[in-house]
């Protein structure tokens, strides 16, 4: 009871705050300024999404097979150490990764996509690996015992049962990715970072927000989109959201 009342109160407060903010921005002519950037926002959003799509699909295309390979029993000895290397990979700040990839690949889209790919790869690989190695040995034994070949086991039993965890990895990875793309502007790949960083440099808050707000919205939208896909794709029996 108390919790739900607090929740309702909280919601009203947020609405009031949003309304106040809207009124204030209108009064200061902020919205006009913001709309002045609209064509830029449209163009840069497309560029932003394109960077995410490229690096994200590349990360999925590499991360899932890599996770699968590492989870095979024959890889058990080296798998943990390779996962450690990947873990160290993520502790390097994304900005440093971008800087490094720029020093190899120069300026432009290619080094940006590569840097984003590196930053996105780990959550996907790690979750694929964890999802597959977390499957109970009894299940694998049952699958083998009824006469499934290793490939049939992988596609009919292992992947479907790990899918929920794999999707969780993709969701984290792509949300991080969308939020990291603005940094790509720094090595000349465009994206909404252009408005954010230029806005900061020129001390132009409207311009900065014209980059920041769409970035935030994109992150939320991507997160929601993957959640919906996971809901539809993961079989009902192993989907906690559909139990």
């Amino acid at each position: 009871m108390l919790a739900s009342m607090l929740q309702r109160f909280g919601r009203i407060m947020v609405l009031a705050a949003v309304f106040a903010a809207g009124a204030w921005t209108y009064a200061t002519g902020f919205i006009d300024e913001f709309l002045w950037h609209w064509p830029d926002v449209q163009y840069l959003t497309m560029q932003h999404l394109w960077l995410t799509a490229m690096s994200g699909s590349l990360a999925i295309a590499v991360g899932i097979p890599l996770g699968i390979v590492l989870s095979r029993p024959s890889m058990a000895r080296v798998a943990e150490s390779i996962m450690q290397v990947l873990n160290v990979g993520t502790t390097i700040p994304t900005l440093a990764v971008l800087a490094l990839s720029m020093s190899f690949l120069g300026i432009g889209t290619t080094p940006a996509v590569f840097g984003l790919f590196v930053a996105t790869l780990l959550p996907i690989t790690r979750n694929t690996f964890a999802g597959l190695t977390g499957i109970s040995p009894a299940l694998l034994e049952a699958a083998a015992g009824i006469g499934m070949s290793p490939t049939q086991r992988l596609f009919r039993v292992e992947l479907p049962n790990a899918l929920y965890v794999i999707f969780a990895g993709i969701r984290t990875a792509l949300t991080i990715n969308v939020g990291t793309v603005p940094l790509a502007f720094l090595i000349g790949a465009g994206g909404l970072g252009e408005l954010i960083f230029t806005g900061i440099d020129l001390f132009d808050p409207a311009m900065m927000l014209a980059g920041a707000i769409p970035t935030a919205m994109l992150a939320i939208a991507v997160d929601a989109l993957i959640a919906v896909i996971a809901f539809l794709v993961v079989p009902r029996g192993v989907n906690p959201n559909r139990a």
Binding site: S136, A138, E141, I146, G147, M148, L163, G237
Partner: protein, 384 residues
């Protein structure tokens, strides 16, 4: 038929090698259930899993229907052996129908055929196909899951089944029900079954033969009654428990012990006739009274017959109970103890009297097997 020949498994571990199965040689005739029984870690599961190569044997051979399986493709071999694992292992991502039809789909049956098969199997395991086929394993109780596990193993109608403690996860009451259902099913299907258990009572109930394992070795392979009557050594004896004579009560049918040459009276007989007949047959306490249809209606006690005059129909007493020819001695004993009586009339399917069973006959029957067993056990020793 399954035949194991010198089947051996040695696990190499950090702490040295473990001999999990040591030259196991045995045979299970077609259509029989053989129970692998023994204490924890004695190699039952290992032996079972070597048959479908979940555990690759170190040495030795497995023959199924006379054919050496080492020449077969692993997947083909497994698809022809029904396998029920101890942990049930249903696929959580598949519906019950998909679980049950997993093997038929691997074998490439067409959809219509395996759908029909799924419904058929649901009938066999007494679950409603309309309710359960579209559910997921997580939506079933443990006992229901275990039945589905058995159905999945039966799906492609394999001649051979391997079952590793298939009813282990079920509470005792439901376990007894499932065991009964399974035995009924087996009577119709006549599979050749290797069945792991560590429950002696289950072994006695389910097994046509019981193989006792100890530390990787097969110690004794006998029919349940022989096993209880003549355990080969002290290990088997202690494993069976000191109430093994009582356990045999489950195995012997009333029909095996019944004496059919009995004296009875009719309601129209006099009490004097009753007394005379009791003396004739040596009955100390009472005599059975039957009607014209030879159905048991009561008994006439000696005390009444010797002190009173008249007809049986006016002086009989109610019977303490009756027992069916197909019932076990265990049930007969239970009724005798509960009703404080030493004999019970035995009836057939139509309720007609076909004899009676006495405590003396029961103890003599059980004792005879034990005495014979003791003689054969000691004979070679004294001879040597």
């Amino acid at each position: 038929m399954i035949r194991l020949e010198n089947l051996t498994k040695i696990f190499e571990t950090q702490k040295g090698s473990v001999i999990a199965a040591d030259h196991i040689t045995m045979e299970v005739p077609s259509g029989e259930i053989c129970i692998l029984l023994g204490p924890s870690g004695c190699g039952k599961t290992t032996t079972l899993k070597m048959i479908n190569r979940i555990v690759p044997p170190t040495s030795g051979k497995v023959f199924i229907e006379g054919e050496d399986t080492s020449g077969m493709q692993t997947e083909d071999l497994r698809r022809n052996i029904g396998y029920v694992i101890q942990q049930i292992g249903l696929f959580p991502n598949m519906t019950i129908e998909e679980n049950i039809t997993a093997v038929p789909r691997l074998l490439g049956w067409d959809a219509k055929r395996y759908r029909e098969r799924a419904r058929e199997l649901m009938d066999v395991i007494a679950m409603d196909p309309n309710i359960y086929l579209n559910r997921y394993p997580s939506e079933l109780s443990g006992g229901q899951q275990q039945r589905i596990g058995v159905a999945r193993a039966l799906a492609a109608d394999p001649p051979v089944m391997l079952m590793d403690e298939p009813f282990g996860a079920i509470d005792p009451i439901n376990r007894a029900v499932i065991q009964d259902e399974f035995l009924k099913m087996q009577q119709a299907l006549k599979k050749t079954i290797l069945f792991v258990s560590h429950d002696i009572d289950e072994a006695i109930k389910m097994g046509d033969r019981i193989a006792i394992f100890r530390a990787g070795r097969l110690v004794q392979l006998s029919e349940p009654d022989d096993l209880l009557a003549a355990p080969k050594d002290e290990f088997v004896e202690s494993f069976l428990g000191d109430d093994r004579a009582l356990k045999r009560l489950n195995l012997v049918r009333v029909g095996d012990v019944v004496s059919s040459d009995i004296g009875t009276v009719n309601p129209g007989d006099t009490l004097a006739t009753a007394l005379k007949r009791m003396d004739e047959y040596g009955y100390q306490l009472s005599i059975l009274m039957v009607n014209e249809q030879n159905e048991p209606v009561g008994m006439v006690p000696r005390s009444v017959a010797s002190l009173t005059r008249g007809y049986c129909r006016d002086h009989f007493q109610p019977l303490p109970g009756t027992i069916h020819m197909g019932d076990s001695l265990r049930k007969a004993t239970s009724i005798m103890f509960a009703e404080d009586t030493t004999w019970l009339p035995c009836i057939d399917d139509n309720g007609k009297v076909c004899g009676q069973i006495t405590q003396r006959a029961m103890t003599r029957h059980l004792g005879a097997r034990f005495r014979a067993a003791a003689r054969t056990a000691t004979a070679p020793a004294t001879g040597a």
